[in-house]
Symmetry: C2
DNA sequence: CCAAAAGTGTTGACTGTACACCCATGT
DNA sequence: ACATGGGTGTACAGTCAACACTTTTGG
């Protein structure tokens, strides 16, 4: 049996050390917890959807939340985000960028924990079958009807939506939501969904051709009871700024 | 004299505790160090300048660096940035926004330490006299000729410059670099310095008036051996997006 | 032959860009 | 009187925004 006297001393020592680490050191700093949360978007059934999980643990156990987790030792936050993307959405090599770091003090009931938020876009076709990963049950839900979310995740999503809406206007990131080849209608729909407004078909085509981001393939989409649509592809599938605005 | 046996035990205990805090816990996460670095810009002598200090401690002792520091307990990163701004530049209530979080693993020789970078703009007139704060000697240097900097601070500055150049085109943040009232020439010069290119005087005036960001004061700037210039002021001194682009 | 979406041009308003001269003051 | 930066207008080209009809297919 343990000597309780020694254990008492041990506990005091550990407490002192933890306090020391968290709040003082000689410069007076401490290390907040660092997590990464990822806003993963896709387009499905003509709506913009985001991947949410149900929290398996406290705090907010059972509440929908963005997939996320703590940074592991030796891992950059981008690597953490990519790990989450692989674990929760089953995808790799998709569009991803850092969004913002959220660190308001009341955001996590466990104390001072910051979240480096990332923002990812995945074409529907790339998404694996949802492996009902334990109790978390990750699924894509429409961004229209989001209930109460854990932490400040509603705020993070709002920020991500703003970024997406801005960025689709001056970059080519739309490629990351569309399949390899697509019709002009699909492309236009993507813009309309993200911008939340209808666009004139003729003007859209003109503008897009002028922007020089896409090219025709030799194929057409047949099998619908209508005139077959030409299929297009993006010339480049790497993020870049446009010279002109959309 | 201390009992060396007890001290040995103490050291082992502390080591165990630190290791425990940093790398394991039951979920397998750890807390990287979290610092804040601030890119503080101003315009002086017709150049864009940034505030640099000389590092007082290792690593990179004596090397120029962005002013920065660890987050204190209970402080948000924004508050940390504002504290740095007050301590190193002697200003409060200036334009500040979060820039990006840098966390590539090789950025700090001490180990895994992330930097939440902020970006601030200060009108020259607001800056206090440089209090030769110890050995750090903060001073504004032209962004044109930056030598070797500590850590990845060159990268951070490059990122900040890009952000500034972008943002001056679609927001009214120029107000945060100019004095209360200013001439059209001063305003134009500000844009030219940031964009790094000359602008046609007539077109600049037309565009700016159309953007409706500024208004005339009743005063003129006299005392120069030339026609007195009308003084203008910004209508709003809060950051906002423009409806049209500059 | 009908329904459905694909595909295409023109016009008028507005915005961007290029460019050169007169004005008011201090010295 | 002259040097210095302050201040203004016009013309052409390009872009934006609004709008309606024909084409090609499958059923």
């Amino acid at each position: 049996m343990y000597n309780s006297h020694k254990i008492g001393a041990l506990i005091i020592l550990i407490s002192i050390t933890i306090t020391h680490m968290q709040s003082s050191k000689k410069e007076g700093y401490f290390n907040p917890g660092v997590t990464v949360d990822v806003a993963i978007f896709t387009i499905e059934d003509n709506t913009l959807k985001i991947l949410l999980i149900k929290r398996a643990n406290e705090p907010f156990k059972g509440t929908p939340a963005l997939p996320g987790g703590f940074i592991h030792k030796g891992e950059s936050s981008l690597e953490t985000a990519e790990r989450i993307l692989a674990d929760k959405a089953g995808v790799k090599n998709v569009y991803i960028e850092q969004l913002y770091t959220f660190d308001e003090s009341e955001r996590d009931p466990r104390g001072q924990i910051i979240s480096i938020a990332y923002f990812a876009l995945v074409p529907r076709e790339k998404l694996g079958i949802h492996e009902g990963s334990r109790t978390e049950n990750p699924e894509f839900v429409s961004v229209e009807n989001l209930d109460k979310l854990a932490f400040d995740h509603k705020k993070i999503i709002a920020y991500a939506l703003k970024r997406l809406g801005d960025k689709i206007l001056y970059t080519n990131i739309a490629y990351s939501l569309l399949p390899q080849s697509f019709t002009f209608s699909q492309l236009q729909k993507t813009y309309e969904i993200i911008l939340g407004a209808p666009i004139d078909k003729r003007n859209f085509r003109k503008k897009f051709i002028q922007l020089d981001m896409i090219e025709e393939t030799n194929e057409k989409l047949t099998g619908k009871r209508q005139r077959p649509a030409k299929l297009y592809r993006f010339k480049k599938k790497m993020p870049e700024k446009l010279k002109r605005f959309f």
